[in-house]
């Protein structure tokens, strides 16, 4: 019942560089499989529904409130339909592509062995990060599914109010297949700690050189089969690269390719309901605890740490945006507060299980001015119409978080350091920040390139197939009427 798992992305690389001490004395794991603890299962199920709540209604409202009333239903429909579409795709082949056995391609993609959830039953379990601890595979499956649902839904904010519903759905179906599942595999296709610990135990118990070599080979094999970014040691606790950088750059590319909204920069395009955006942002915050603390796959002290980091980084980022805006613009806006909070949530995502709470606060304080700069100035200068600031908040916030993770994980800065399951005793204190930052940078750049270029191609493809953009008259009338034949409000 092995399974890759988000958090220990660093294990492989760490182990790759560590001499395996022969004095290890792990208790051998007997054949009797561990049973999931109901508490862990309860937490994973709760987390999964929280991440669903982030998409619907959370993100849908956050985004929807920011568009004009005539495009409200288009945002709501796109979000809801993406959730539904990805739910089915994920069951049919997504889970298998992301977390199945990729065989010889296993550094780059999962396999087809779990198509239609083949072999998964209510009795299947997967490993968590604590050796010897498991959760039901269905819980892991559905938790990961909710991540695959929300990521493409994030993208639509960039080209809001001007892309056809059919184009959005087609693009998303392509995008999760070609961009998301592979990247998820690269980063989260990690080694099963139980298998590693088993092999390390063999190594320790090995009587002769041959046995030692065999055990070492086993360890090397396990490590060699992980996703290539995981193999480089990139840390991404809950999805800074896989979710936010990934969606953010895809959004930017889409906004540029589809072009600006009619009237952009000339007419006022004010949010139709900041109230709804605030509700959405609040539900994002609440749900994000499932996203981040759920990524620990268990309910323990480390989970509580991820939870606390999510809380305090977000609080700090909201304050920080408020203060900067107050100083620069003279007034602290509600939209600024909630945008800051989302920027904080994004930034803390990759760091949530690694940083300490004070580090998380510093990260939160830092990310808001950076994102604000992109949202307010860079966007205007560069002249693209990233309607709901998917790039400015998610991509930039995600990059900030991904890089900061390499810093804040350091035990010297209150971080938790990196876990080497095969060598728990000798590892402490050997944290190499430069090496880690390099790994982080590689993950960021790889994601930007694969998602940026890949998405561009997919948009063009969709344009050829169904056309990306409605006619100007349809756009003026609003997508609610032209795409869906309804109006959001009849007061």
């Amino acid at each position: 019942m092995k399974l890759p798992s988000p958090r220990s992305a660093s294990v492989a690389s760490v182990i790759a560089g560590a001499a395996i001490s022969a004095s290890l004395a792990f208790p051998a794991f007997a054949a009797n499989d561990p049973t999931p603890n109901p508490g862990d299962t309860a937490w994973m199920l709760t987390s999964s529904l929280l991440v669903l709540m982030m998409s619907i209604p959370g993100l849908a409202l956050f985004y929807g409130g920011l568009v004009r009333a005539k495009n409200m239903l288009s945002i709501l429909s796109q979000t809801f339909a993406i959730v539904a579409l990805v739910g089915v795709i994920y069951t049919v082949y997504g889970y298998s592509l992301a977390f199945g056995d990729g065989g010889s391609l296993s550094n780059y993609i999962g396999g087809l062995d779990k198509l239609f959830l083949k072999g998964v039953t209510a009795a299947s379990n997967v490993a968590t990060f604590t050796p010897g601890t498991v959760i039901p595979e269905y819980a892991y499956f559905v938790f990961q599914m909710t991540f695959a649902m929300i990521t493409p839904a994030l993208i639509i904010g960039a080209f809001a109010e001007r892309m056809k519903f059919s184009a959005v759905l087609l693009f998303v179906a392509f995008w999760v297949t070609v961009i998301y599942f592979p990247i998820a595999h690269w980063v989260w296709g990690v080694a099963d700690p139980n298998a590693l610990v088993d092999a390390a135990t063999q190594l320790a118990a090995a009587g002769d050189e041959a046995a030692k070599a065999a055990a070492q080979t086993k360890i090397d094999e396990i490590n060699a089969a992980v996703g290539w970014l995981a193999g480089k040691g990139a840390l991404d606790f809950a999805g800074g690269t896989v979710v936010h950088i990934n969606a953010g750059i895809a959004g930017l590319v889409g906004a540029i390719i589809v072009g600006k909204r009619i009237g952009y920069g000339k007419e006022a395009l004010p949010p139709h309901s900041l109230t709804l955006s605030m509700v959405g942002a609040s539900l994002l915050w609440v749900g994000w605890f499932g996203f981040n603390a759920g990524s620990n796959l268990e309910a323990n002290g480390a989970t509580a740490l991820a939870f606390v980091n999510t809380m305090v980084a977000t609080a700090a980022a909201a304050l920080s945006w408020m203060i900067v805006e107050w100083l620069v613009k003279g007034k602290p806006s509600m939209l600024g507060l909630i945008t800051g909070a989302v920027a904080g949530l994004v930034a803390v995502t990759p760091a949530s299980g690694y940083a300490g709470p004070v580090g998380a606060i510093v990260l939160g304080l830092a990310v808001s001015p950076i994102c604000l700069f992109f949202v307010d100035f860079v966007k205007k200068m560069a002249g693209y119409d990233d309607a709901l600031d998917v790039f400015g908040v998610h991509c930039i916030g995600g990059i900030t978080g991904a890089l900061a993770t390499g810093i804040l994980v350091s035990p010297d800065l209150g971080g938790v350091g990196i876990t080497d399951y095969t060598n728990l005793e000798t590892f402490a204190g050997t944290y190499d920040m430069m090496a880690q930052m390099k790994a982080q940078a590689i993950a960021v750049v790889a994601t930007l390139l694969w998602s940026g270029i890949g998405s561009a191609i997919l948009y063009k493809l969709v344009d050829v197939i169904v056309g990306l953009r409605p006619t100007p008259d349809q756009e003026r009338e609003g997508l609610d009427i032209t795409d869906h034949g309804e109006r959001a409000y009849n007061y």
Binding site: L66, P270, K329, S333, T339
Partner: protein
């Protein structure tokens, strides 16, 4: 008969209505409108985008009255709607040729 149309600040509605009732005007129709004029608006900022809002919320009151009452109506409205600050609004008087009460079919002065 005349129609007296007044553009006023929204929070003055109740006072104006009372003043009109006092001089015997028992019907009027109110519309929410946006006014553009000397009174300056405000600026709204949503993330990067700044919008100068120059249309301000006003109420338009329309009162159909007998010509004889017009002067009084104007006085009543002026007195109560005035705050002395820019944007207090306008009163317009236009001719009304016929008036009919739908319920009864009564016409003109009887219909008001």
């Amino acid at each position: 008969m005349k129609i007296v149309t007044a553009i006023i600040k929204p929070f003055k509605l109740d006072e104006v209505r009372d003043a009109l009732t006092n001089i015997g005007v028992h019907g009027l129709t109110v519309t929410e409108v946006k006014g553009y004029g000397r009174q300056k608006g405000h600026t709204e900022i949503y993330r990067g985008a700044e919008y100068a809002i120059s249309f301000l919320p006003k109420l338009k009151i329309e009162v159909a009255v007998d010509a004889a009452l017009v002067e009084q109506v104007i006085q009543a409205i002026s007195n109560t709607a005035r705050t002395g600050q820019i944007g207090d609004g306008k009163i317009f008087v236009t001719p009304l040729e016929r008036a009919i009460r739908i319920r009864t079919g009564e016409t003109d002065a009887d219909a008001l």
